[in-house]
């Protein structure tokens, strides 16, 4: 089967090419200029244009889909990726299934698995869908020996949307997805200053600080790149310490891949205690400093 792979991000494109190289014959379409040539795509098409946006990219991809007699389209999941998937499904009159973790084609039917109920469950579906968005982080990109043929494609058509301005964001300082140890703060810290306590534990463990959705998005105590959850980063560290995190569904879905989970919360009925390996019921402002001391002592710091 022949698949179009699309991602605007080189890293995610390489992940998808790694993930599906044994299942499909793949051509990659991307608006990125970074290296994606040694990950197993037969052809790499670089989309170029003055005014690239989801609408004209979708039209170009649907044109190529029909011309190239492809069987399906696999898109890297992102805000842009989901939008392109939704537009493509209308243009091509094909069903789309988004945010999948697995794609298994068999006799014209495709089985997929994705999170459901906010990450509480995983749903397996079978359908005749032909457009998919795939979650990032399912594999590390592994290069191959061969090099893809490279083409440039001009997207001449203007977008209906005008880009008025671009605002640089502060450079990302952390990659939680690759961290071995994460100490995350939840609403339970009560005030921004409480992060200092969480940071101390992260420091003594040589880990990174993460946060729940309220801490990152509602109170802005931490930047959004540190948000762990289904709608934030999905992490898989060796140790995940949840400090003052109640354990809402969408947070759990973001840290389920952790090897060992430690939870500290004063509410013994907090759902996080069902999703942890070790837990302490207690005031985090008492527990965390004690923990820091105890670790320091034994490490002889």
């Amino acid at each position: 089967m022949k698949a179009i792979i699309f991602s605007e991000k080189a890293d995610l494109a390489s992940q998808l090419l790694t993930l599906f190289r044994n299942t499909f014959e793949m051509d990659l379409f991307t608006s990125s200029n970074e290296n994606v040539l040694n990950f197993g795509a037969r052809n790499v098409y670089r989309l170029q244009g003055n005014n690239l946006y989801v609408d004209n990219i979708s039209e170009k991809l649907s044109e190529m889909f029909k011309q190239g007699s492809y069987d399906l389209i696999i898109i890297g999941s992102s805000a842009m990726g989901r939008e392109i998937a939704s537009l493509l499904s209308e243009i091509l009159h094909l069903e789309a299934i988004t945010e999948v973790m697995k794609i298994e084609p068999k006799d014209g039917i495709v089985a997929t698995e994705r999170f459901f109920f906010g990450g509480k469950t995983v749903i397996r579906e079978e359908s005749e869908a032909r457009i998919f968005t795939v979650l990032p982080g399912l594999t590390d990109p592994l290069p191959v020996d061969s090099i893809s043929k490279e083409f440039k494609i001009n997207v001449e058509k203007d977008s209906a949307i005008k880009v008025v301005d671009m605002i640089e964001k502060p450079k990302s300082s952390v990659n939680l997805e690759k961290a071995d140890i994460i100490v995350s703060a939840g609403r339970g810290i009560g005030k921004k200053e409480g992060l200092a306590v969480v940071q101390q534990l992260a420091d003594v463990l040589h880990g990174e600080v993460g946060g729940s959705r309220p801490v990152c998005l509602d109170y802005h105590w931490l930047s959004e790149e540190r948000q762990v959850g289904l709608s934030g980063k999905r992490v898989k560290p060796k140790i995940y310490v949840a400090v003052g995190i109640s354990g809402q569904v969408q947070h759990i879905a973001g840290m389920r891949g952790s090897r060992t989970v430690v939870a500290i919360n004063k509410d013994k009925n907090a759902p996080i205690f069902n999703e942890c390996d070790y837990g302490i019921v207690g005031d985090l402002y008492v527990v965390v400093p004690k923990l820091v001391e105890s670790i320091k002592e034994k490490l002889g710091v």
Binding site: R82, S86, S89, G118, V122, R124, K169, L291
Partner: protein, 247 residues
Amino acid sequence: MYNIIVCFKQILDIDQMKVDENTQEPIIKNLPYRLEDLSKNAIEEAVRIKEKYGGKIIGITFGGDQATLGMKEALAMGVDEGIILKGYKENNPELTSETLAKKISTLQYDIIVMGNQSADSYTGLVPGKVAKKLSLPLLGNAIKLEMVDRKVRITRTGEDKNFVLESSLPALVSVEQEINEPRLPPLIQIMAAGRKPMKIEEIQVSVKSTKKVIWNKAPKSDRKRIVFEDVDKGVAEIAKVLRGEAK
């Protein structure tokens, strides 16, 4: 003055959802519904547009019998009139988008606002599908919205840059959580909401969906769940574990 349409949905309260320990299936029976998270942001943004620039808001929800409650909440937040479309059959973006688009095409509007992805199913397909069906520009994942000379301008987050995008009207905007903090309507508005117009309609659409659920289960959690209520004992044990792993 703008004619504003806001689309929203009610979802099962997933934070109260329990899982059957034998089958690992979610227990849905008797679970209450609530207004979906980003739907609240969408309603809030619609109300802010009205407050700032003037206009009228029609709220549309595609739901079952429980939809009345969510609609009342929306009316209390500032939506002027409500339309409940009946016939919702679980998560089906094909059906939802077709139903919404068909109804919206009979209405007058300048701007449609909705959440970009719902907190239960996370498909994120409906805004784009509705926009395409109605041939509207899609301004997705807005974290800021303003109206400038009968145009809509949004800010959208990107990987390393934020983009300020603009399009002519009518247009469809999907919003992210960061765009605003939804208001909690005061009691007087909740009372007044009962007097606002609310229609229940049935719309006939034919859509083809080939999706079949094979299973829907909570992933097995094999966590050890060793929870200490004695802080000092817990600290001693856990420090041991953390030291071992952190080495």
